[in-house]
């Protein structure tokens, strides 16, 4: 049901078992913040290819550069060396419909939750040109439908500081989804949620993916989450990170929470655990 695929085999070749075009490609990309003696290497030379419509989960120790990879893909950070190609163009996130859920759910404090969530519709075409006309009707309904799905019905007209940490995180997810992006970048979107809310949202996200097949890059610390949602799991080494392992997860879809207690699933989890134990000690210079 599951096939492990070492990183070395994958490099340079198209994503095996997938004929879809490449949506995201990091080739030999590295990121160093700052210059000179104060330089901080955040990401070692990393290559990664994600085909269109893939669901990739990214796991790794704290501070290894997972968020940095998402920022590279979304164009918020430029690679210090190497190239990042998104949608066929070099860091051309601007041209794509990307939905990003930041690790820290930054809502604009002067807007109600509803308006915060509608923000992508205000910016991204084709919604942008309809925004003035529809923001009071269709778009607002759309935002509230999403809020309801994540269990925040009726909180649309609250302000961000009136929500709890977990509620904010859910609103943050809504904002990443509202403009039906072809590419989803999710940075620990369920970190502050209790197990059950989390599992509910897994299913919602999975349904959405099955229905629309966006390319998803999900950062998480929860291995069950990675295995439940991902079609591929990439494990990163400790800071400055690089990709240590890249495995495909072939459980049938739709997956259910019950499946996560099945032996296969538990075995995958154990396997990943083992990898991460390595990853925590492995610096980029260590394990190849």
């Amino acid at each position: 049901m599951m096939r492990m695929q070492p990183h070395s085999e994958f490099q340079g070749a198209p994503v095996p078992g997938s004929a879809a075009p490449i949506a995201i490609e990091l080739s030999e990309a590295s990121v160093t913040f700052g210059r000179g003696p104060r330089a901080v290497p955040a990401l070692s030379t990393t290559s990664l290819r994600i085909a269109d419509g893939e669901f990739v989960a990214l796991v790794g120790p704290s501070g290894c550069g997972k968020s940095t990879i998402l920022r590279l893909v979304s164009g918020l950070v430029l690679p210090t060396t190497g190239v990042v190609i998104v949608g066929g163009r070099e860091v051309a996130a601007r041209a794509l419909r990307v939905g990003m859920a930041f690790q820290n759910p930054t809502m604009l404090p002067w807007m109600s939750i509803e308006r915060n969530i509608m923000l992508p519709l205000k910016i991204v075409e084709p919604f942008r040109s309809q925004f003035r006309r529809l923001r009071k009707t269709e778009f607002r309904d759309k935002a509230n439908a999403l809020l309801e799905q994540v269990g925040l019905k009726g909180f649309g007209n609250r302000y961000p500081w009136q929500l709890s940490g977990g509620m904010l995180q859910r609103a943050n997810l809504c904002r990443a989804l509202i403009h039906e992006p072809r590419m989803l970048l999710l940075d620990e979107p369920f970190g502050a949620l209790d197990q059950f809310t989390r599992e509910e949202l897994w299913s919602i996200l999975q349904d959405l993916w099955i229905a629309h097949k966006p390319t998803v890059l999900l950062v998480t610390h929860d291995l069950r989450e990675a295995a439940f949602l991902g079609s591929r799991i990439c494990v990163m080494s400790a800071r400055p990170g690089r990709i240590l392992d890249d495995s495909r997860v072939d459980f049938a879809r739709p997956r259910t929470v019950a499946m996560t207690f099945e032996p296969d699933f538990v075995a995958l989890n154990q396997k990943l655990r083992a990898f991460i134990v390595d990853a925590r000690t492995a610096s980029a210079q260590g394990v190849a």
Binding site: G75, L76, M100, T106, W110
Partner: protein
Amino acid sequence: MPEFDYRQKARSAALIVLFFVAWELFCLISGMSDLVLPRPSQVFVTLVEKFPILWPHILQTLATTMIGFVLGVGLGVVLGAVIGVSKTAYDTAYPLLVGFSSIPKVAVVPIFVLWFGSGSVPAVLTALSICFFPIVVNIATGLATTEPELEDVLKALGASKFDILWNVGLPRTMPFFFASLKVAISYAFVGAVLSETVASNRGIGNVMMTASSNFNVPLVFAGLFVLAGLGVALYVIFSVIEGRVTGWATRKNDMVAT
């Protein structure tokens, strides 16, 4: 939004009244000549008596100030946005603007008079040129200090620089924009009046100049009170708008559960 607290407002009003009472008593006790500092009561009497005569001058000054102020705010916001966004603009414009602001505007009024004749136009221009700088500074600083995390939300969506400015930079800067309006409106009055004292046949500045050359000090102070009153009236209007627009920024006042 915090609710309107009548006790609070009453206390503040009482303190303001107290200020005038203290002034009155100070004048009475120190035997201050009303040729130097008239008592507030004298000023009020003069104000009431002369009000019909003052009225057209008040309107004149109010009109020129408001036009200058509105133009100044517009200019200030645009310049502030440019300076806040572009490093070159920051390095170029700031020294020039600080230099320009350090110049007493009274030296500039004659130039305006030459170009535009005496009257309303120089007053508008002086008000404008004196009031835009605080706005520039606060808008520029607000934009430069906007948390990058907030901007990233829009950047990740591929928003243009203008989108970011409009949706993040400016709203985030609103509290300081309103702060600068408080400074700008008072200086706009100063500018308009200044110009009127130099070159105009109407306006409160002219009244005050005439009054002062007649040593009619209570009338001079009546003019000052009118100016202060106009300034405060506009401040109150802005405060109301401010309360609506920037309530989010002062949320701590109503966050404590009650």
